[in-house]
Amino acid sequence: MHDVTHAKQRRRDLILAAVFVALAACVPLFVKDVYVQNIMVLTLMYAGLSQSWNILGGYCGQISLGHALYFGLGAYVTAILLTKFDVLPWFGMLTGGIISALIALALGYPTFRLGGHYFAIATIVIAEIAYLLFLNWDWAGAALGIDIMVREDSWAKFQFTRSKLPYFYFALFFAAVAWLVTWWLENSKWGYWWRAVKDNPDAAESLGVVVFKSKMGAGAISAFLTAIGGAFYAMFVSYIDPESVMSFQFSLLISLPAVLGGIGTLWGPVLGAVVLIPVTELTRSFIGGSGRGVDLIVYGSLIVIVSLTRPDGLLGLFSRKRKKEAVQ
């Protein structure tokens, strides 16, 4: 009985996702405003990034505050390969993803043994070391960063001078893939172990070795997808420096949509990004330069309020309603 509803729920999620993607794909036909399109691209990108973060931070409960490392690696590998070796960004993207996944595996081995806050601080510290190294690495542009010259409209080079639409469709594709990977993982053997050990240290103990391996896998997948997002961002803004792709601020921005929407849930990161990104972008542009910091106050308060009153995230509001309906 339970299995049947579970399968039904999963199928419903999949259909819902397909509908959302189809609807989102149509939006640019009606919304021509470049500023709004820009916000939509960022929203989709953060939805995908946070979904990737959520695989490790939410489902495995390993709160990483250093995902800027993988994001920055994806951006840097793509930009360096393109500007110095003329390698097409698609290969750069893949290379960046693989390098990030390998680094995540190497780092996961010692860090996954650490307890909660020791782990979180270790991730901050590791990303910060990488940030400082890139800031002082002359060959990679140091503090000046790397400028990607945009010369022509080309899908092969993933550069577009006039229209934002190709970026929009890639960001949509990225968010959809990250969602699909999560959807698939949820029902895998790994997903089952993660649920079993979550908030249950005894189960974690008895499943020790297998869970450790599954966390390594989650770390690698999460890093790979995050790096893809970073590579996309580099091509989208066509200029990167350590501050804009590897600073701590990014680690935070990647985790926040999931935390707000519902950590360790399929739809949380999507909902969180749809709420958070437009709100921050709009406060920033409405209040303007004079009110620097208002966007921080707004989303900082959101985080405090949500974590105190809705530890399950904003998504909790929906599922509660759903449960009530079920009872009636």
């Binding site: 010692p110 270790a122 701590f248 208002v294 900082g300 985080i303 405090v304």
Partner: protein, 292 residues
Amino acid sequence: MTAETIIQSLASGLLMGLLYGLIAVGLSLIFGLMNIVNFAHGEFLMLAMYGAFFLFAFFAIDPLLSMPLVAAGMFVFGAAIYLLIVRFAMRAKTNVGMVQIFATFGLAIVLRGLAQYFFTPDYRSISHSWLGGKTISVGGIFLPVPQLVGAGLAIAAFGALYFFIKRTDFGRALEATREDAGAVALVGIDQNRVFALGWGLGSALVGLAGAIMATFFYIYPDVGASFALIAYVVVALGGFGSVFGAFAGGILVGLVEASTALVMPPSLKAVGIYAVYLLVVFIRPRGLFGSI
């Protein structure tokens, strides 16, 4: 590199390290008491620095004199944060780890935003304070006076804290709550009160550090971030919860930072500190002097 430069930088490393210890001890105290990491600790330091700055700018009170005021203000602020936010974060039943990290993280972001909004992102500094800009020479080694006084203050504060924990009723209640919160409730100690006072005390200590640092460091909304990371390293080295550990960890971090700056470009000096953190937690996850 002469022996003199080495001694010179190790001496300033030692002074800075004692201050790091003072910045970190509040964090360690709060953690030991209730197993929570305050991710807004750096912003507490930032507020204390602004407190000293504005008392100087508006009322011309030198940071040396305003120090008790800043510490008292931070005591009230810390206790209020416990009562308004942390108390509720501790009641979480689901996603406990996430709630504890992000409740104080969100607070850090709000405080930083408020500072940017009200104080502007400009860099401020206190000019012409009693201590600022002065150096003295001891046997050919130059020591900046603000850091020297800060180091002396840190030693005094650690001494007072030690005495306070061992000899006063509140200190004993603090220790007892740390050992076994459940049993403490049975003998009629109000756990909530102890926690609030613990947050107050921890924040007052970072207030002391902030007031002295305002005399020789730029003051801006993000100033807390890098010091917070150093404070986490200090606390992890010394072992979360250990007061003596924060003292020793601070000195160690100061010395590591100074030695890194000798062999690497100054902009990379923090790498040495971070590397030490990773080394310690990978080899000995409890920290050097930690019991938990």
